[in-house]
């Protein structure tokens, strides 16, 4: 069983240090990078599936700056087999269209049974890349997965897709691309063995030239969108902290609600 997991290094949301650079694009040097949260959930699922199958590999695929191997190590420490990095200075500042094109092209060079992606990333929160990659790669697309059940013998996969009222059960032949959600299950914390083993796992690089993509069509040069402004949101008034006993605290809350005409 071979599962490719699309992962993206994003600024660590817990660090609070994310910011934009002068060009309006994410300043990747400003804060430590971590694996995108949703990607960890689909990675965890991939690792579980391969473990259950008793054989196979989980391959990480990422379009990222050259410094990304450090971030990929954490995903390798969780147990992924190896990583593939598509990196090229020309890719800097890429929009979702370019990202989709590059990832689809990279995916086409690989053989796999399933490809997973997180539904969106914590930096851009666009949530459009997985569907686009599936379309460009001609893969069946199953999105917003709460569960993923492959049948290797029949070479099909079944997914419970989250809907407003419950779930739609989707089924497709392999290979297929699945975007997954947190409902798949808490990602494991890398074990010490996993952390130490990660350093010797292979991360290979693909250059854009290998994919036959014109550098002018990607990166800032080829971007289909651009940031025109950025500012801090209007500050919320300072939090009123109440440490009184329950009755007094409730009294103060009621006063606040009345003040804001909510009751």
């Amino acid at each position: 069983m071979r599962i490719v997991v699309l992962t993206k290094p994003v600024p660590d949301p817990a660090s609070g240090a994310e910011r934009l650079g002068p060009d309006g694009r994410l300043d990747r040097a400003a804060s430590p990078a971590v694996v995108n949260g949703n990607d960890e959930y689909v990675l965890e699922k991939a690792l579980k599936l391969v473990a259950e199958a008793g054989e196979g590999e989980v391959i990480l695929l990422s379009m990222a700056p050259a410094s990304a191997p450090e971030t990929m190590r954490k995903a390798l420490a969780m147990g992924a087999t190896r990583g593939i990095l598509v990196t090229d200075p020309a890719l800097e500042g890429s929009c979702t269209v370019a990202t989709t094109r590059v990832l689809a092209a990279a995916l086409k060079t690989l053989e796999f049974d399933l490809a997973f992606a997180g539904v969106d990333t914590s930096d851009g929160v666009a949530g459009v890349v997985p569907a686009g990659v599936a379309a460009l790669a001609g893969l069946p697309y199953l999105s917003y997965a709460a569960t993923i059940d492959p049948d290797m013998a029949a070479r099909t996969v079944r997914v419970n897709r989250i809907t407003a009222t419950g779930f739609d059960v989707l089924q497709a032949p392999m290979p297929a691309l699945i975007s997954g959600t947190q409902a798949l299950g808490e990602p494991r914390y890398p074990s010490l063995k996993g952390i130490m083993a990660a350093r010797s796992k292979e991360i290979s690089t693909i250059k854009m030239a290998d994919l036959g993509i014109d550098p002018a069509s990607v990166g800032t040069a080829g971007a289909t969108t651009r940031v025109v402004d950025s500012h801090k949101p209007p500050p919320r008034a300072a939090t009123r902290v109440i440490r009184e006993p329950a009755d007094e605290a409730a009294r103060q809350v009621v006063a606040f609600l009345a003040e804001r005409r909510l009751i």
């Binding site: 994310e18 979702t96 686009g132 379309a135 940031v227």
Partner: protein, 326 residues
């Protein structure tokens, strides 16, 4: 002539128009006014008539396309292909859709098929300098950015509850259009539909939401949450932790994989305020939180933060609210 703002009308499970689409349509109309561009709605589904008729309350012209494949297949890619073909024929300059799961799937596939850029997850859109300028909340709400298209065409996805839906002064015209183009992408069949249990008050447009998290401790704890919601005339919400533990149905989940809400009041009980939940409720007008942990992240963005036991404080609050209303 490349002109026109198109609004994709999402067809809900029961054949009606998704509420989000009425919000997108309202915004599209405002942009049409500002730009002078004509606005057209497009509904593509197995039985589009009902949804198309509703959309016609919001925009002057709606194209209804009957596409039987969407009845039993995942819709996003199918709709995207039909839409791409219509776009090739009619040449609008932009397409707007909701930023919920359906809209994102559509926007992603459509962007790949057309090469059009996406202004994604917008909380507002204005018309400026000949094109749309979208506002986004990034970095978990720490920063607001505005972005524009670099070319003439693009796709815009709009966050739920960012715009208040408002019907147009007069009803629009419905046109039935045959599906164009071909379906070359693999179609994914829906083999079964599972309904989530429980029929609770919808949180989508609730003015007041009382939500419970891990601190509530179990399904019994949610009785207090419901009682407070009743006393305040609101709906019950929950974090992923509470839903995963089976204490409350998924339909009430707020957050990254649940719903994004923008109520006038969000009362959070036993909720830490971690980012995955925060993104679902941080734009609520008033946020009151009760948590035993003084260092819970929610303390940073709540208007009022009570350090205490949620049951003690909750019961006291319930008592006082009931006393007030007589």
């Amino acid at each position: 002539m490349a002109a026109g703002i198109w609004v994709h009308g999402e067809v809900a499970g029961d054949g009606s128009l998704a509420k989000l689409s009425t919000e997108v349509a309202t915004l599209a109309r405002a942009l049409a006014e500002a730009s002078g561009e004509p606005v057209t709605g497009v509904v593509i589904g197995a039985d589009p008539a009902g949804a198309a008729a509703t959309l016609a309350d919001y925009v002057p012209r709606v194209l209804a396309v009957a596409e039987p494949e969407t009845a039993e297949h995942a819709a996003g890619t199918i709709v995207a292909q039909r839409l791409a073909a219509l776009i090739a024929e009619h040449q609008p300059r932009m397409v707007m859709t909701g930023a919920g799961p359906e809209g994102r799937d559509l926007a992603g596939a459509l962007s790949a098929l057309t090469g059009w850029g996406v202004l994604a997850n917008a909380t507002a859109v204005r018309w400026d300098d000949g094109g749309p300028v979208a506002t986004h909340n990034v970095f978990g709400g720490k920063l607001v950015t505005e972005s524009a298209l670099t070319g003439d065409h693009g796709i815009v996805t709009l966050r739920p509850n960012a715009v208040t839906a408002e019907a147009a002064p007069s009803k629009g015209k419905l046109e039935t259009v045959a599906p164009a183009g071909s379906l070359d992408q693999p179609a994914v069949p829906i083999v079964e539909r599972l309904e989530a249990s429980g029929a609770a008050a919808s949180i989508d447009d609730a003015r007041i939401i009382v939500a419970g998290g891990r601190g509530v401790g179990g399904p019994d704890g949610f009785t207090l949450v419901q009682e407070l919601a009743d006393a305040l005339g609101g709906a019950v919400g929950a974090t992923r932790a509470a839903v995963d533990s089976g204490w409350i149905p998924y339909s009430q989940q707020i957050g990254q994989t649940g719903k994004i809400v923008k109520p006038a009041l969000y009362l959070a009980l036993g909720i830490s305020g971690a980012i995955q939940h925060k993104v679902g409720m941080q734009t609520a007008e008033s946020i009151v939180a009760v948590n035993r942990d003084a260092d819970a992240p929610i303390a940073d963005f709540a208007d009022v933060f009570v350090v205490g036991d949620l049951f003690e404080v909750g019961r006291a609050l319930l008592e006082q609210l009931r006393a007030r209303s007589g």
